[in-house]
């Protein structure tokens, strides 16, 4: 059987890959996808800790993931709507060219 | 018959070495399902063409084999030997993957449907998942992805438009479909199809379709199933006269046949689900008839619904895109929500006072909701059509 650290390792890898995608890619949608990846890495951690934890009969880890899924869906919807709105306004989806986010 | 089938499987599994036994067991459960439904596909194409022919006052296929029964064989041979054309600018990988994914998902969903039960309580089901229904819909929803892949990879605007239409339609009808299925889940308290069938055992008066909410949910489910599998009158995504064949336009030969197969298999899956959820699955209508094996009952009900679908295809004209979306969002979705509430009320009432009171209290809201929602839709029909997404 696999151990907790395997799952944690995989989730850490996923998280870092997500972070890299967010930081490195040009396309705004890919930035969003990177964020989704990080969220899912966190979810994997929740489930792994739930299953390998001392008391898997208490379902708190699962419930947390359930809520986090809902929040992630909401986040994706709003994020995509924002990307669409930005695209309408500036005709770009390149985060390099959107630089008005400053005081 | 169920005992026979199960024991054959056990005998065969015992022939394999112990390491391979689970794998062999699964394969042996899969094979009959694959075979039976592929056969169904072949027969249904003939049946449909013949029935449509009769409805349109002509003969159907009647040349190949006795009464045209070998027609699908001929069709299949033709498809296989046709040239497989891939457009030059197409995305080759995705173009290849789309039909594969579609056919795979269409086959996968059959794995949770119970076809019969041996007297010792074992079910004739490939996998008895506790979350069978969720599995069914999760896998079924992959079809959207496959359709998108097909449309996008073809580099053809008709394909893209057809795919977009199909996806919009599938997403729209998935919501009322899920909600109408949820009524059954609410009553039987389980997501496992085996359990849901189990609550309908013992005669047709236990079937979910014979309750006020069940009847309405069944009709909603059938309508949504038609739309989900892109059949007439909801066949806008692949309307020949409008956008040729939608997302399948750039496919030919065996890949095209796969699309065709997947479409029919999707329809079969929906029909099987309808039989399982609402019509008591493999259970006979009266307990005295239990000596007839379950699969026979199952396929009997299955054929009735398929015939109903063919009949509808022969009679109803195609809907317009805006009518289609209005039907989904303005009539079916609110109706399904009302049914959910009514089902909850039914559960409470028939538990405490019996089904007579249940009928008494639960049918008026269903009828009222139908009248009100239906009238709301009728008011719009006369108005001018609004063109969106045209410019």
């Amino acid at each position: 059987m696999d151990s907790l650290s395997d799952y944690l390792l995989l989730s850490a890898l996923l998280f870092s890959l997500g972070l890299c995608v967010t930081l490195v890619r040009r396309h705004a949608i890919l930035v969003l996808i990177g964020i989704e990846l990080m969220l899912n890495a966190a979810n994997l951690n929740f489930i792994a800790f739930w299953r390998f934890g001392p008391n898997p009969e208490a379902l708190d880890g699962l419930l947390f993931v359930l809520f986090s899924l809902a929040v992630a869906a909401a986040e994706a919807a709003v994020g995509l709507a924002l990307i669409l709105a930005v695209y309408r306004r500036y005709s770009v989806t390149d985060v390099e060219n959107i630089d008005e986010l400053k005081g | 018959m169920e005992v026979l089938l199960l024991s054959i499987k056990e005998q065969l599994v015992a022939l394999f070495p112990a390491v391979l036994q689970p794998l062999a067991g699964h394969l042996l459960s899969i094979t009959p399902v694959l075979g039976v439904f592929a056969g169904c596909f072949a027969l249904t194409t003939v049946l449909e063409r013949k029935a449509l022919g009769r409805i349109q006052n002509r003969f159907g296929p009647n040349r190949v084999g006795p009464a045209g029964l070998l027609q699908p064989v001929a069709d299949g041979l033709k498809m296989i030997f046709k040239e497989d054309i891939v457009p030059l600018k197409a995305d080759r990988t995705v173009h290849f993957l789309a039909p594969v994914l579609l056919a795979t998902t269409a086959l996968l969903v059959f794995s949770v449907i119970p076809f019969g039960q041996a007297p010792d309580g074992r079910h004739l089901v490939p996998v008895d998942l506790e979350v069978g229904l969720i599995f069914f819909f999760a896998v079924g929803s992959l079809a959207e992805l496959a359709v998108f892949m097909a449309g996008w990879s073809s580099r053809n605007k008709y394909a893209m438009l057809g795919a977009m239409r199909a996806i919009a339609q599938m997403i729209s009808y998935e919501a009322p479909m899920l909600l109408s299925v949820l009524t059954v889940v609410l009553i039987s308290g389980s997501l496992s199809l085996v359990d849901i069938v189990g609550t309908q055992a013992g005669g047709f008066w236990h079937w979910h379709v014979l309750t006020p909410w069940g009847a309405a949910a069944f009709l909603l489910f059938l309508t949504a199933a038609l739309a989900e599998s892109n059949r007439s009158p909801f066949d806008i995504p692949e309307a020949e006269s409008e956008i040729i064949a939608g997302h399948m336009i750039e496919y030919s030969g065996f890949k095209y046949a796969l699309f065709f197969l997947a479409e029919y298999l999707g329809l079969f899956a929906m029909t099987s689900l309808a039989v399982t959820l609402f019509l008591g699955g493999f259970h006979p209508p009266i307990p005295q008839l239990a000596f007839v094996p379950g699969p026979i009952w199952f396929f009997g009900k299955f054929v009735v619904i398929i015939a109903f679908f063919i009949w509808i295809r022969g009679t109803l004209p195609r809907l317009r895109m805006d009518q289609l979306l209005q039907l989904a969002w303005k009539f079916m979705l609110p109706m399904a929500v009302v049914l959910l509430i009514v089902a909850a009320a039914w559960h409470r009432i028939s538990l405490t006072w019996g089904p007579v009171f249940g009928w008494l209290f639960c049918s008026p809201p269903v009828i009222m909701a139908y009248l009100m929602l239906g009238r709301g839709g009728a008011g719009k029909k006369g108005g001018p059509r609004v063109y969106r997404y045209v410019n």
Binding site: T22, V24, V31, V95, E96, D99, E100, L101, K102, G103 | -
Partner: protein, 672 residues
């Protein structure tokens, strides 16, 4: 009907209100049918509920609680209670309410917004019924506020009329001034008692343990905690029940349709305050000689007398009734303070009947006379509306305490308990004086409206006072006004004993006893004497309202002016609030100009001097170094602002880098 199903009683009108909201505005007939039907149905259910309390034989109290919602470990419970107090109140509210609903069907037959009206009326009744069955102060408070909201909707029903809108607003604001006290009291109670359940198997806030502990605890000044909390709650009850000084909204509330006035005054809103105090009586009575009971008594007796006095000088038909309501509510408070909830509830019930009767009778008169409400322009209706005259006379006699009608017995019970109150005699004297005045002003109104010549030009001959929807409620209420009193006579106090859970015995001795007999004689004397006095002053042969001024006005013009204008309380409030604010503002200005101004100028001069010195030092000494620092800061800022380049990814990069930093710092801390 068991207590689990008690929720049906408020749910029915609430459902009706919901259905009515969805109906098209043209479905007036269906709307009135649905609303009245649901109200009658809840009356039937109330009757069933009442029967279950009788079944138990002894004093019965059943509660039904359930968890509303849970957050973590804390669960919020609410529930209903069924005991004699609830049952009596339910019966009264639903019976009087349904009769008023029935009357409204006829009264508002030509109103365009009938559907809305019935929706609001049903909502009002539902809120009131919910208030009655609550077994939890929070639920009670919620319904209490809903009652307030519904009354705002109903008083302002004719919102296009500016007076009606203003009256609705006034009622809302004034009652909410009272509600502030109630709210604070409730929160306080919740924090010290830990629960707001009334009865919870020994742990509720009205049960022995909690009441005892609250009575034992004292805060500053030696007041018991229970007294302080109940005083706050009393402030809320005073707002709702129109007690001086928060009564000002109630006469103005007459702007609403007459059935609304009847409902507000007879059974529903104003009774809520008295009901609340009766419900919380264990808490009020937690310590012997509790200050809150004393306060209740004083407030009640003052209100009773004061409002009766004002009613003498009013000329608006409904306004007189409104002031009499305030006065009668004062009696209830007086009864509650001196004799406990049974006495108060008895008067509440009898009052509900005859006051509803009077209001509905007044409604008939108003409708028949083309919406004329000034009694000086009415008159001689005795011949034209004999039925209305008859029932109105019954209601009036009951209110005036005419012997053996319901008001007589309930008022007598209040006198009885007020007379033996140890603290002071003055409330008793005030109550007696108020009773005399009651007889006088009601007779005055009768004479004005029903006797003498017919003075109204817009009388509608077509109006039928005997239409079923009008006559049935009036007749039923008149029966109640006559007979209900016999339930609670001194000799056979069925009602009081039912409320207190004892078995009533027939004891003629109590009636014959010197004290009771004397009181009966006294109150007979008061009511008959008062009526005779008023008849002497106002009888048609003596006085003609069409040509003469009111006799009181002729004899004591200055006093009458005070009465007429309700002791100028409204004006007084306006003057004190507005002028107080103005004066404070002007005082502040003078203070500013004479004292703070010069001080500020002095300070300014000082600071200027210092600044001049400092400038010298600055320019010569500091600037050199400071300039260098400035340059460095500017360069640093430029560097920083370059980092802030407006790109999302840069920012995420910083976040990620900080994350990495935190992780590594944690690791390093862990190692050391």
């Amino acid at each position: 009907m068991a207590v689990e199903w008690l929720w049906l009683i408020p749910a029915l009108p609430l459902l009706a209100a919901g259905v009515l909201t969805l109906l098209p505005t043209t479905a007036g007939r269906a709307a009135s049918f649905v609303a009245t039907g649901s109200m009658f149905l809840s009356f039937v259910f109330s009757g069933l509920a009442w029967l279950t309390t009788l079944d138990q034989g002894e004093f019965s109290r059943t509660t039904f609680d359930f968890v509303w919602f849970k957050t973590g470990t804390a669960a919020l419970k609410i529930g209903w209670v069924l005991d004699p107090l609830t049952a009596v109140m339910l019966l009264t509210v639903s019976l009087v309410g349904s009769l008023i609903f029935l009357f409204s069907v006829g009264y508002l037959a030509r109103e365009e917004r009938r559907v809305t009206f019935f929706a609001h009326l049903s909502f009002f009744a539902a809120a009131m019924l919910g208030l009655v069955i609550a077994n939890n102060l929070l639920l009670l408070f919620v319904c209490w506020e809903l009652v307030g909201l519904a009354s705002w909707l109903l008083i302002g029903f004719w919102f296009r009329k500016p007076e009606a809108a203003a009256a609705a607003r006034k009622a809302f604001v004034v009652t909410h001034i009272g509600d502030m006290g109630f709210f604070v009291g409730m929160i306080w109670l919740a924090s010290v008692a830990g629960t707001l359940q009334f009865f919870d198997a020994g742990a509720g806030c009205l049960e022995e343990t909690v009441v005892h502990s609250l009575g034992a605890a004292t805060i500053l000044g030696g007041l018991a905690l229970s007294t302080v909390i109940t005083l706050l709650v009393l402030w809320g009850a005073m707002g709702k029940s129109g007690q001086v000084p928060l009564h000002v909204w109630l006469p103005d509330a007459m702007e609403g349709p007459t059935p609304v006035s009847a409902l507000i005054h007879a059974a529903a809103m104003v009774a809520a305050g008295v009901y609340l105090l009766a419900r919380l009586f264990p808490l009020l009575d937690a310590v012997p000689d509790s200050g809150s009971l004393v306060a209740v008594t004083w407030v009640g007796s003052l209100t009773a007398f004061f409002a009766a006095l004002v009613a003498l000088g009013q000329t608006d038909l409904k306004r007189i009734l409104a002031w009499s309501t305030i006065s009668q509510l004062g009696y209830m408070m007086l009864g509650l303070g001196t004799g406990g909830p049974a006495v108060a509830m008895f008067h509440l019930v009898t009052h509900a009947f005859f006051k509803a009767l009077l209001f509905l009778g007044a409604g008939s008169v108003i409708q028949a006379c083309g919406h004329e409400q000034d009694i000086r322009r009415l008159g001689g209706l005795r011949r034209r509306m004999p039925f209305t005259f008859g029932v109105y006379a019954i209601g009036m006699l009951a209110l005036a305490g005419f012997p053996f009608l319901s008001g007589f017995w309930s008022k007598e019970a209040i006198f009885h308990s007020a007379q033996v109150w140890e603290v002071s005699r003055i409330p008793f004297v005030l109550a007696v004086a108020g009773a005399l005045l009651t007889a006088v002003y009601m007779t005055r109104q009768m004479v004005y409206v029903f006797f003498g010549e017919h003075r109204n030009s817009s009388f509608q001959k077509s109006f039928s006072e005997r239409a079923v929807v009008t006559a049935v409620p009036l007749a039923a209420l008149a029966c109640g006004a006559i007979t209900l009193g016999f339930l609670g006579t001194q000799a056979f106090p069925l009602f009081q004993e039912y409320l207190e859970g004892e078995t009533a015995v027939l004891a003629w001795g109590d009636l014959i006893g010197w004290g009771s007999l004397g009181l009966i004689a006294l109150s007979t004397l008061l009511s008959v004497g008062g009526m005779a006095l008023a008849w002497g002053i106002y009888r048609p042969s003596q006085f003609d309202p069409a040509r003469q001024q009111d006799p009181l006005n002729r004899w004591f013009p200055r006093i009458f002016r005070w009465l007429e204008n309700q002791f100028f309380l409204d004006e007084w409030y306006r003057q004190t609030v507005v002028r107080g604010t103005c004066l404070a503002g002007r005082g502040a200005e003078v203070l500013d100009r004479l004292i703070w101004g010069p001080v500020v100028r002095l300070c300014a001069a000082l600071v200027q001097t210092v600044a001049w010195c400092s400038r010298l030092a600055d320019e010569q000494l500091v600037n050199r170094g400071f300039d260098r620092v400035c340059r460095a800061v500017r360069q640093g800022a430029a560097w920083c602002s370059e980092r802030q380049n407006g790109r999302v990814q840069t920012y995420i990069k910083y976040v990620g880098a900080s994350l990495a930093l935190v992780v590594w710092v944690l690791i390093l801390i862990d190692r050391s």
